[in-house]
Amino acid sequence: MTLKTPFRRRLVNLAMQAVAVVAAFAAVAVLAVMVISVAKRGAGAINLDFFTKLPHPFAFTPVPTGLANAFVGTAVIVGVATLMALPIGVLTAIYLNEFAPRRVAFLIALALDVLNGVPAIVVGIFVFALVVVGHGQSGLAGSFALAILMIPLIARATQETLALVPESTREASLALGVSRWRTTLSIVLPQTIGGIVTGTTLAVARVAGETAPLLFTSSLVGDQLHADPRQALASVPLKIFEYSESPDPADHRQAWAAALVLIAFILLASTVARLLAARSRRKLGITR
């Protein structure tokens, strides 16, 4: 009697493994094709003017060709959104991990995950109904919409790092007579800074490219340069969106260049966040 696996079974095994390998490389290939397309078409239009000049006023009139207002607008909108989301996200995570009874923590974590799944366009309509209907569009409204997307990301990332802080650290501090709040703020939280920075960076990378929440909250803008979040602000994703639907090839070139800058920023930010995460995990003594 031979112990060799029958040929047909080996063939099926081989075929299925081949499928898995092809699938994984197909996904990587799609990423490569997309990044290369963007880089090839966008690189030519990137120069100093692209960051410092304003857009040309009408299609087919290639005079000044930069997106200065969109870069400033995105920086302001995302910056304000981070200021809104960071405290709420971190405090929520502290409550989840340090104070909440098990069942309450379960429900709040569930709510955060469900909030994370609400489509961005619906969040846009929500902020439109809540703020824009009465007060008009503004950068602040856009920031608020983005902050709603950021809160679950920051809260979950922070909470996961808090959970990694060894219980013995807390007990040691409490045993020395340190109060619970001092223990949390001075002993536990400093150990999670790495996780908070990682989570926030990933959240910034995610929302910097979001278009849908800004459509109804900060889209009706002219091409003047300003940084006042009380008025509607231009943004990079919305400019790409507008230009992508333009008939003018010069607009397409601008869209590709903006897409290249956006992708470079996002991929760089998420890579840095990943490396930071690996470092802070090592610091907490977790090897995986």
């Binding site: 699938a23 989840l96 709510a111 709040w181 278009t211 790409i240």
Partner: protein, 326 residues
Amino acid sequence: MSSIATPQAAARAAELRRRGRFRPGDAVLHGLTLAAALAAVALLGLIAWKVTDQARPAIHDFGLGFLTTKTWDPGTRQIFGAAAFLFGTAVTSLGALLIAGPLSIAIALFLTELAPRWLRGPIGALVEMLAAVPSVVVGLWGILVMGPFVADHFEPFLKRTLGFIPLFRGDPSIFGLLPAILVLTIMITPIVSSVSRELFLGVPRDLKEGALALGTTRWEMIRGVVFPYARSGIAAALILGLGRAVGEAIAVTQVIGGNVAIHWSLFQPGDTLASRIASQYQGASSAKQVSAIAYLAVILLCFSLVANIGAQVIVRRFAGRHPVAR
């Protein structure tokens, strides 16, 4: 905000006070963090309430008939209905899931069972980076690169080979349901594969090794041990992917063509709920139209709440039953 919100916390505070170690700082931090947590949860309720409130006039005017009305006429007739968009959403999302589902599971298997250890990290990171590409950039690429390729090569090919199926009839076009399906496939593959990967990592090693020791091939071990073990979790991963596909607005609106119609040709333009909302941002001229747009958002929200709560509960039950070894 009261600092004593739960019986457990109240008991703890009472006990601390009895022992003379009650610290106001503890109560303040507890209250502050609880307030933040409640605010985050309240957002969910506020979103549901405010979007429904905005849609109230349309809900009043059109009722449930909105779901079966095929017209979207912001002109003089002011008749709005979601049937065409429901159809487009169903076709594009299910189409994308049909491709992305098996693909993602295969990727997850590669990352957990097949790839050499040194390759797992980099490939996994690259697949997740695909998720980081903003939808507007995927859409830009979809219009200007993928669209022409699909119209010139892919759709004529499908027509030649599979033209006997009604799905693959009609004139090839840059804008249509098929480009939307492809774009959505690209966007949901990373999420489905990363959730599946976590699930497969949780399958106990002794079960897998037991199967292999009994003489199964690797594929037989996967089919006989990994899949049954992770079955409910895979369902949840697919639901999460479906939720993403249904809610994606920007990339779809860029490639789908924005056509209010129900037809079986994947080559022809259509529209989805989310994409219709996105495309109306400048044109919402009447109050009735604005509330009809909000009505579309209500439908989307209902679907995403049901899908996400369902999927998350399954994932949690799975994780509770089979603690993922880390």
